[in-house]
Symmetry: C4
Subunit: 201 residues, 4 copies
């Protein structure tokens, strides 16, 4: 399946990219331990950017992998939508790098949160397209579909709400993102009967 | 099919490449919102280059994907021609970056339009080779083949014509590229009877 | 198997990455042989970093390849653990570059040895998970499993011990790494009866 | 076949790599045509490096593709030898870039010719290993094998001879490389009876 091989290569590149940007520090004489330790300390935001970016894109790769394992056949629509999804994945290393370097600056969140929201939103669009055009391996009942879409849309909402919050406090904005977790825990209680078998199995 | 796996990896790299070049801006103290916003504003041409480049190469990837799904078997000729096609794909991020940064400079179009024309031209060459050597899954009638080739060659023409036009006005040059759309709409009316089944299905 | 295609792309990128960083030296007039030779001499640590990094990551790729050829089926646990394994592989070019440039600085080993130890440790974790959840093609007797885990854990130990040693002498620290070889030769004598058939065949 | 997917990803990266290094030129005001043309003129060696590098690595990829299509099964020896082969492929963009920038400097050829000789030599080693260990789809008669090895070794010889020649004239050195073509044309006349069926078919 060329579409998935292509997607995997793109994910792998986006996840490995940030290491290229971390230059080896140059020292005056190369022999002093505390100088090298200091220079590495200066690179800490870039290290954390790399690990965060890898984790975030890795989590989306897992979801992409899981979603496409439930897709029976691809039409040209889903291939094109997948490209739109991938452009935001390919772009993500930049806002993540910004966030790692300027965490306390709300402008970092102004770029990061909408990019992540776009990826989560495209997940919903891909799911909706596959459901509507009968591309899934198993047909999903309408109430399960509606509940599943809502579950996937909730992170989009929390990411977008975090943008104005960031201009009050960037810590509060990040807290917003984690609000999605208790929200989804509550929403799990409202799930329709068939949800376990069709979406979470 | 190693040829396609290799092509997909190359497409994925070419599409993700431009983000590497966008460096995280460095700020004086890291805390001022308007400074970071200004610096990001300076990067706007690089952002638009990235998204345009992704869209343009993505469109060629879609066509490559569609074409090779109609190829039954590969000979050494088509493998070699595919490499010539790919060298222009791999090169494309550079002229796209140039166009994003210096849109009003006709020299940008002097490099961009012929590169894109080469890719479109190689598409025709690949199609011709596959047709002549019986590599397609379905044999195409000669009149459908000739009409299809003409359809594919028309963007090449419009791209080449846009180069001298760019020295009058770069906006007019880009308008040239979009002339291909009404031209193809008219050409669709002249299509031979078998075209729908063989090329557009 | 998407997980393996994705892993392979990531390995390939991590192994090719270090060449990107080696910039073509710029000469005053471009014509003097001894000047270019001198400039290339300055790049020697970067050349050796590239070849060492390729060899080290290549050795892990071989082990990854061999391990997954014995895995019958993948569960979501092994896919997630594989991502944790890969983040250290993707990061490795940086500490390797540091080691190539500042071999005599113990801080280089302070970063390099734990990174390599993490990869070796994750190999053990992957092996343990596959064994415990019945994902291997052939069931391994408990004594063979315990002996194999110990064999794989021994490099982790030698890498971690080398860190404090590096602050006495970096040459001694590297010597520590090679102590794993005679240790494993001795441990081979203690191997349980089924080890040859199940792990080394 | 993971070994080939991995090799293809590595080839694709090595072939696309050189474009990353070509930075978009920065202009004083962005509007002057002759200034941009001048700056692009300065980048000509980097453009030619990219296209030469793509052609050279592409030619090796074709040979790699053709060779492995005749290999029936892989053993751990051929997988390890393939990694040695690939390290020189991954390194090639650097010497090619050097040659593109300092063509008249014999030191460029001192680095380029041995790198290419190593790749050609590893092709012979891979062929020999596959022949000796019965990995090929079709058994090759001993006289055809010996003649084929000689044919493959001849470029290695011409590349190595070109190094001392470069210190007299770099143009003469490059001429040396092309001597392989008439040599191989003559050697084709001496080919043993089974060569056509086993190696050239």
């Amino acid at each position: 399946m060329r579409v998935l091989a292509f997607s995997d290569a793109l994910f792998a590149i986006a996840m490995t990219l940030l290491v290229v940007g971390i230059g080896i520090p140059s020292l005056a004489d190369g022999g002093d331990e505390s100088e090298l330790l200091d220079k590495l300390g200066d690179l800490l935001p870039e290290f954390s950017s790399f690990f965060i970016s890898f984790a975030v894109i890795g989590r989306y790769w897992l979801a992409h992998h899981q979603f496409f394992s439930r897709v029976r056949t691809l039409d040209s629509g889903i291939i094109a939508l997948n490209l739109v999804y991938l452009v935001f994945v390919a772009f993500l290393p930049f806002p993540t790098g910004l966030l790692g370097n300027y965490f306390e600056n709300p402008v970092s969140i102004l770029l990061y949160a909408p990019t992540v929201a776009c990826i989560s939103f495209m997940e919903v669009v891909l799911f909706r397209h596959a459901h509507r055009h009968g591309l899934l391996t198993v047909e999903i009942p309408e109430d399960v579909y509606r509940w599943g879409s809502l579950m996937s849309l909730s992170p989009v909402l929390f990411f977008l709400v975090s943008v104005p919050v960031a201009f009050v406090s960037t810590v509060l904005a990040v807290a917003c993102w984690f609000l999605a977790i208790p929200f989804q825990a509550v929403a799990m209680r409202w799930r329709p009967p068939g949800a376990d078998a069709h979406l979470l199995g």
